[in-house]
Symmetry: C2
């Protein structure tokens, strides 16, 4: 039996607690127990459990915003290389306390290696596939749901004729009777091939995955058969262990992560970005500040940093700010995020109706111009 900390590594986790500083120490001890052995330590006599598994309080410190920052070490051995189990250990039962937020994690190298699903494509790969050098990437979305496959394909073609980089399904597109996945993907992929033959720009169509892991595998099979190499997944709906699994099974598919249902969690979005990056996604979509959602500029900055920060063995992934963005905001967004970003504008382009290709081309031109004018040093993260 090794002495504490000598043989096994620890995950350092920061929680933010609302409430009185006086209670914070006791709460910290309770969280360390809850997120590890989940029973009174007094009732445990096994030295391995007490030395290597029981969580430990590192520090409890008041923050300037009035919250208490609680830092705890959790044993990495409890995770077993499973990203779902990582979530379970980080915030499983403690998520039931509504005064507590999972704020930050630092994962030891061995666990990062154990979680790794193999090669990642990341921001560089996403650029390379569309022939972009260091510039920002462009993306739009097929919607509304309810349209038949051929109508969505018409929109996909129009976007591609504007030489956009990525065209994703709206996250509401699943496999509904009015637009089953196989028909939709086949129609949109064909439309994309036609457009790419005309423009010479390698626009990628990004179908949205849904259903169980089995269903997602069938969808990925169709995607590969259609010659596509990008897909969108909602990790909070599919389950993070399943994201890890498709990352392993499909090393050549780039995965864009959609935040659906993830905002429901009291997990800081930057922390969630870190977790999803660990599970192997290549880009993370999130609400930009000043759009339809209430994320602050500071939160968006932290998300971009979590996506891009150098991490040994992990590719930098693309931050994809979205949620009610407009072409008018492109210069400001690029000033904010720099060039290491994928800009996603959906409804604002679709509202152009018959002028969709022209509006898309104008969006693309604005991004190219502004992004290429930026020196690398101007990039944000």
């Amino acid at each position: 039996m090794a002495s504490a900390g000598s043989t096994m590594s620890w995950i350092e986790v920061t929680y933010h607690l609302r409430g009185a500083a006086a209670d914070a120490e006791a709460r910290a001890r309770a969280i360390a127990v809850e997120q590890s052995i989940e029973m009174p330590p007094d009732a445990v006599d096994d030295p391995f459990v007490l030395g290597e598994i029981l969580g430990r309080v590192v520090a409890v410190e008041p923050r300037s915003d009035g919250l208490q920052a609680i830092r705890i070490r959790l044993s990495a051995a409890t995770v077993g290389g499973d990203a779902g189990q990582l979530l379970n250990m980080l915030f499983g039962n403690s998520s039931l306390h509504d005064d507590l937020t999972l704020a930050e994690i630092a994962v030891p190298p061995e666990l990062r290696a154990a979680l790794r699903g193999g090669s990642q494509i990341g921001l560089d790969g996403l650029r390379e596939r569309v022939g972009a050098k260091a510039r920002a990437l462009t993306c739009s979305a097929l919607k509304p749901q309810g349209l038949p496959a051929k109508e969505l394909a018409r929109l996909a073609e129009a976007f591609a004729l504007g030489s956009i980089d990525y065209v994703k399904d709206d996250h509401g597109l699943a496999t509904q009777a009015y637009s089953p996945f196989p028909q939709r993907v086949s129609a949109c992929a064909a439309a994309m091939r036609r457009a790419v033959a005309r423009t010479g720009h390698a626009t990628r169509y990004v179908p949205s995955l849904s259903g169980s892991l089995d269903a997602v595998r069938e969808q990925l099979h169709i995607i590969c058969e259609e010659g596509l190499d990008t897909a969108m997944v909602a990790p909070a709906i599919l389950g993070l262990a399943n994201v890890q699994q498709i990352r392993r099974d499909y090393p050549d598919v780039a995965f864009l992560a959609h935040p659906s249902l993830a905002g429901a969690a009291r997990i800081d979005p930057a922390c969630l970005t870190t977790l999803w990056r660990l599970a192997g996604v290549d880009a993370v979509i999130f609400p930009n500040h000043g759009g339809r959602f209430g994320y602050s500029a500071q939160t968006c900055e932290r998300i971009a940093q979590a996506a891009l920060a150098p991490e040994p063995g992990l590719a930098a992934i693309a931050p994809v700010p979205a949620g009610g963005m407009s072409v008018a905001r492109v210069p400001e967004m690029l000033d904010f995020y720099g060039r290491d970003v994928m800009l996603l504008i959906g409804g604002n382009l679709l509202a152009e109706g018959d002028r969709l290709s022209e509006a898309t081309a104008a969006f693309v031109a604005t991004v190219h111009r502004h992004s290429q004018a930026q020196a690398p040093a101007e990039t944000h993260a």
Copy 2:
């Protein structure tokens, strides 16, 4: 093209909004759009999309607690029978608004049928398997994690010698190096068989499932090979579509749902119970009031009602209040929940150390006595 509402059915969803009543109408309209077509309705001219897919505001009403109740109809056709997609449509993007809670849903019969994974075992089945008539069921938990398989098996045997009904893995038990799933389940199943041969009571061991759907399937294979027929799953970690899938694939396995990570969602726990019941689980574990978590008695009452309320085609499922319960609280809990309940007491029994079997037997006797003394009319829900 049918007129609105004539051919397709609608899900009625209630959200609770924090904030000013003056803004509530506009927010309601925005939610109806966000959770359906996710683009400005003005930019849509397709009559099917506008008539059958676009969400509709039913009512906006202030509540006595100061929140605004927003009732919206969402098209059931957008769900396609996938429980994950149901979550996506109910609360995907709106979960990103931190002033909004998903409070209640009413699902039309066709969608309930489409979601159904086949036979459910439910509360009645859980009783039948352990030879219980109308009484409350008893359950405990194997912990702490970090113990080797043989030590967990020793605890399992001690619980079973006390003639408890169900012994579940702690939700932290996954497949760690110090206690891999196959060894643990094999050791605990064998221990259980030994004990059952002595007591004659058909105590069930309930292993905890973890990892991807693939991993979970391997675990279920082991469970069935060991002659077990009960398992625990954390729907918020595995993903609800995957729960639906294992429900379909393993009609004879009873599934206990664990709330890990689910409290992180701003989804009312009673609403979550409804969703999990729709996906086919047979029991739902949740924090009882007055324990380690802050759920109110009223919330617990609503959870039990969501588990037990008659629903055509769906079995009533067992409410399993837990989270720091003690044997001393059994009479009060049974007075509160009635007999349609499974009482789960873990740490309080494990703290008895060498007296575990005796303490378990006392717990079991208290439940039998109190529960059998209750007239059916006293049951709560």
